[in-house]
Structure formats: structure tokens, C-alpha cells
């Protein structure tokens, strides 16, 4: 495998993680998954419906990808830790995308509770992948606690605003040795490409695929964008200049 994405000691060929929510229907989600090439798909942990026929997302996706449970909807470290324990039991995985939300309107993380939950879960043997603000200090603290990666937001969840502070993402990239997975706020393929061009290791995309007019097309666009961005990062961009630099030879012109 050339240039694998290594996360918690496991190697993946895709640097695109996909969320499973909000697709028009189940088949579109499966087709988008195939088109995206994603090998890791996030799921939420929720009460089962005791009254109705149960949908079984895990059974549907089992064998097609690695399921990464999240703690979406949790507002306290206590709820997030219990949700992580339930997820580990339900899915037989100690990987957890840790979300501790602080505000319903912005869905910004509650950093204080997030750090507390991350510490408890790392101690309990979880592979902790925390959704966090694009604050280099918070990211450094999460890395120091022993998280397996950090997942700074590009913009608020579902906003599609793209990378609203790419300078912070560059600082975060430069400031840590663990994988940086840009999570939340990706709006279209170029956003994903830029995240990878900045040196981030991967992106997690949900709404931008699921809610596109053509989710399967967008999944393919994201796949190619992530591949292109990664290649560009490895190749190294040229410096930005504030003046022109001729690309054609400056000698041998007629009339000289």
C-alpha cells in the first residue's frame, strides 16, 4: 500500500472517512460509500425503537467498512463516557469518535468536558478520536492526554462553510505528531483537497456528501479531492510570490 493512512496502528488506503447520516435513502448511502472509497464510517449510538421494526445500520454496514461509533449528542463527560462504553459493548470496538457538545446552536465542543472525557476514556483503554475546536492549544492538550488523533472542525457541523481558519489548521498540523483529521464543515470537494494540501492526514465528511444534489457523484468528487490534496502535500507547493516569475525562457527571443 503506497502512502497508507495509519491510525492507532492500523493502516488504511483511504484518507476519507464518511458519516452515515442524512442520506436520502439507504441504497444511496451504500452507493456513496462505495463511490467514496471510505474505509471508516461513523455511526451514532441511540435508543432502539422498541415499538417499531428496527433498522439495523450496523448489520447493513458490517463487512463493508470499519464502523466508528461517536458520542454525538452528549453534553457532559459523564454521558460521553457512558455512550463510549455502550458503543464498545455494541460494536466490539474500543475506537470512539468523542464528541462533547457545549452549545446547541453552534454544536461547538465543550472543551473542558471534552478534555475530561478524553482523559477518562484513554485511561479506560479506548482509542480516542476527539472532535475539537481548531484551537492549537486544545489540540496539543488532547494529544498529550494520549488521544490517537485529533479531529479539529473546519467550520460548524453541517454548515458547509469550508475551512474558515486554515492558518489554525496549519498550526495544529505543525504542532503535533499524531494524525489530524479535519472533521465538520467541509462543503465541497475543494475544501477537502485544501485540508489535505495543508498536511492534514484525513477528512471526515458527512453532510457535504449526504445532502449534495447527487450524493454518489459528490462521494466520488471527495475521493478524488482527498487523493489530489494528499499528492499535492507530498509534492510540496511552490512558494507564493508577490510578483511574477516568468515560466518561459528569458533568453533567445526574436529581435534581441
Amino acid at each position: 500500500m503506497e502512502d497508507p493512512f495509519t491510525l492507532a496502528g492500523e493502516r488504511f488506503s483511504s484518507r476519507l472517512l464518511m458519516g452515515s447520516a442524512g442520506f436520502p435513502n439507504q441504497q444511496t448511502m451504500l452507493d456513496a460509500l462505495a463511490g467514496s472509497g471510505a474505509e471508516i464510517v461513523t455511526v451514532a449510538i441511540r435508543r432502539i425503537n422498541l415499538a417499531a421494526q428496527r433498522e439495523d445500520t450496523a448489520a447493513l454496514l458490517d463487512g463493508r467498512c470499519r464502523l466508528l461509533p461517536n458520542t454525538a449528542g452528549c453534553y457532559t463527560a459523564r454521558d460521553a463516557v457512558l455512550t463510549a462504553q455502550l458503543a464498545r459493548e455494541a460494536l466490539a470496538t474500543n475506537w470512539i469518535k468523542l464528541e462533547v457538545i457545549g452549545d446547541r446552536h453552534t454544536l461547538y465542543p465543550d472543551t473542558e468536558e471534552l478534555l475530561r472525557a478524553a482523559s477518562d476514556l484513554v485511561q479506560a483503554g479506548f482509542v480516542v478520536l476527539p472532535y475539537c475546536t481548531d484551537d492549537p492549544v486544545t489540540c496539543r492538550k488532547l494529544a498529550d492526554l494520549g488521544c490517537a488523533a485529533i479531529m479539529p472542525l473546519a467550520a460548524p457541523i453541517g454548515s458547509g462553510m469550508g475551512l474558515i481558519n486554515r492558518y489554525n489548521l496549519e498550526l495544529i498540523r505543525a504542532g503535533t505528531g499524531i494524525p489530524v483529521i479535519v472533521d465538520a464543515g467541509i462543503g465541497t470537494a475543494s475544501d477537502a483537497a485544501i485540508a489535505l494540501e495543508l498536511g492534514c492526514d484525513a477528512v471526515l465528511v458527512n453532510s457535504a456528501i449526504a445532502k449534495a444534489r447527487g450524493p454518489v457523484l459528490m462521494a466520488g468528487a471527495m475521493r478524488r479531492a482527498v487523493e489530489a490534496g494528499r499528492l499535492a502535500w507530498r509534492a510540496g507547493r511552490i512558494p507564493r510570490l508577490h510578483h511574477a516569475e516568468p515560466s518561459s525562457p528569458e533568453t533567445g527571443m526574436i529581435g534581441t
Partner: protein, 70 residues
């Protein structure tokens, strides 16, 4: 024994049994079912512990499974 009243996934229900495993069986959930987890009073109960767990009046039981999410 007479029945107890528990909170099951947020709804108060009367239960004729104080056995967690039996209560789950009444909800068509058995220990062989994959992709499911149970907590009682905010504490995870691994499936191996379902048969031995005795419920008390007012216990809060959460039965969860993975759903579509981001």
C-alpha cells in the same frame, strides 16, 4: 412477586419480572443479538451480566444500538 415499574428508554413501563434478561426477552432482545448494549442507572451491563441482574422499582434502563450518524 408483584410487578415493578421501570423506566425503559425514557418511558415508564410495568414489568412482571425483576430479571433484566426476562425484561429484555419481552422486548424481543436476547443475549445472542448483535449490535446492542444495555445500561441500568447509567452503568453499562455487559450482556454476560444480563441473567444475573435484578431490577428494582424505578430503575432506568437504556437499550441502545448504532444508528446512522456523523
Amino acid at each position: 412477586m408483584t410487578g415493578i415499574s421501570v423506566i425503559l428508554n425514557g418511558a415508564r413501563v410495568a414489568s412482571s419480572t425483576d430479571s433484566l434478561a426476562q425484561l429484555l426477552a419481552e422486548q424481543r432482545i436476547d443475549g445472542a443479538q448483535r449490535f446492542i448494549a444495555v445500561a441500568v442507572n447509567n452503568v453499562l451491563v455487559p450482556r454476560g451480566g444480563w441473567p444475573d441482574l435484578r431490577l428494582s422499582d424505578g430503575d432506568r434502563i437504556e437499550i441502545v444500538q448504532p444508528m446512522k450518524g456523523g
